[in-house]
């Protein structure tokens, strides 16, 4: 038996878990191999030393902390209503109302079953709006050419009024 194989059997040998045949093989190897028998002694010592390591009592302070854990959790779990005070202030209510209305509109847009048609209609309205703006702008841009005609018309009208006024006393 090789030393490497024996090392796997040392602990079962110490704990008396080997079959009689394997036990004899291990014992035969141990009689001839000084290293392995030394390792067996070390393993025995390790087992004894591990078993002799002390157990400690916990400190009263730690015990008190452990006892109070449920109470700590209760404090953490308690609802923090004071954080909602901001929302209850009268000054914040118009803001909240605006946000709510905005969210309602958004929800109509995103969650309505006909959201697709709403979206299409919205796009149409937007394009119509821009079309009107464009028309108005083009009219305003055309005004400079139109203004001399308007001015001439106004002047002619005024002249006509003045003439009729001048003729009126003679008639009376």
């Amino acid at each position: 038996m090789k030393c490497a194989r024996l090392q796997k059997l040392l602990l079962p040998y110490l704990e008396n878990e080997l079959s009689p045949k394997k036990k004899k093989l291990v014992e035969a190897h141990l009689r001839t191999c000084r290293n392995c028998s030394r390792e067996l002694e070390s393993l025995k010592k390790v087992s004894l030393l591990l078993a002799s390591l002390p157990e400690f009592e916990i400190r009263p302070a730690l015990q008190a902390r452990l006892y109070s854990l449920p109470a700590q959790f209760e404090i953490e779990r308690r609802p923090r209503w004071h954080l909602l005070d901001f929302f209850l202030k009268p000054s914040a209510q118009p803001i909240i109302a605006t946000v709510c209305i905005f969210l309602i509109f958004i929800s109509f847009f995103f969650y309505h079953p006909d959201g697709r048609y709403l979206s299409q209609s919205f796009k149409e309205k937007v394009s119509l709006f821009f079309g009107r703006i464009e028309k108005t702008v083009s009219r305003v841009e055309g005004l400079p050419g139109y203004m001399p005609l308007v001015r001439k018309n106004i002047i002619d009208s005024l002249k006509h009024i003045v003439q009729t006024r001048a003729e009126m006393p003679e008639k009376i």
């Binding site: 079962p12 390792e39 070390s42 591990l50 002390p54 157990e55 400690f56 015990q63 452990l66």
Partner: protein, 180 residues
């Protein structure tokens, strides 16, 4: 224990105290033997009990409660080890609690005390899985089957881990002895 768990869930303080009294010493010692630092072991114990408290509602009454608690403790210790692996190389060398407990009486005990100290240091050099298997089996005196249940591994794996760990510790001990 099932009744105690039920009462804990109902918020009865006495039941929680009983649970703490039953497991605190065992879990603290397991944490201290695992991490090797007294203050850190106290923090770990508190964290483990917090985990126990928050997980009580998930406990399956058909399972062994002690094994369930020890499994929670083991998982927490290994998680904590992995999170701060770089800082774990040193254990308390001259820890006052350990020194007080290991102070030998007669002179004949002196060598054994030194060897215990070396072994205590050697524990820190084992991998966390091997270390825990050795702590549960050799120091806390659990059976292979109990260790296997706690660690959620086959009995054969527990045996091989303990075997490897002990051989490693034996070699470390021999190195210490052979050093001048």
């Amino acid at each position: 224990m099932e009744k105690v768990v039920k009462e804990c869930l109902e918020g009865k303080e006495e039941a929680w105290r009983l649970l703490v009294d039953t497991f605190s010493r065992r879990i603290f010692n397991m944490a201290y033997q695992f991490c090797g630092r007294y203050e850190e072991a106290e923090d770990l114990t508190q964290e483990i009990f917090m985990k126990i408290y928050t997980s009580l509602s998930k406990y399956d009454v058909k399972k062994d409660f002690t094994a369930w608690v020890m499994t929670l403790a083991k998982n927490h210790l290994i998680d904590a080890y992995r999170k701060t692996r770089r800082e774990k190389s040193l254990r308390d060398e001259l820890d006052e609690h350990l020194q007080a407990a290991l102070t030998p009486g007669p002179e004949a005990e002196l060598v054994a005390a030194q060897e215990r100290q070396s072994l205590w240091q050697g524990l820190g050099q084992l991998s966390p899985e091997i270390r825990l298997a050795i702590i549960l089996k050799e120091i806390q005196g659990k059976s292979y089957e109990e260790v296997a249940t706690i660690m959620n591994i086959p009995v054969g794996t527990v045996k091989s881990r303990i075997n490897r760990g002990k051989i490693q510790l034996a070699r470390l001990l021999n190195q210490e002895v052979n050093q001048p």
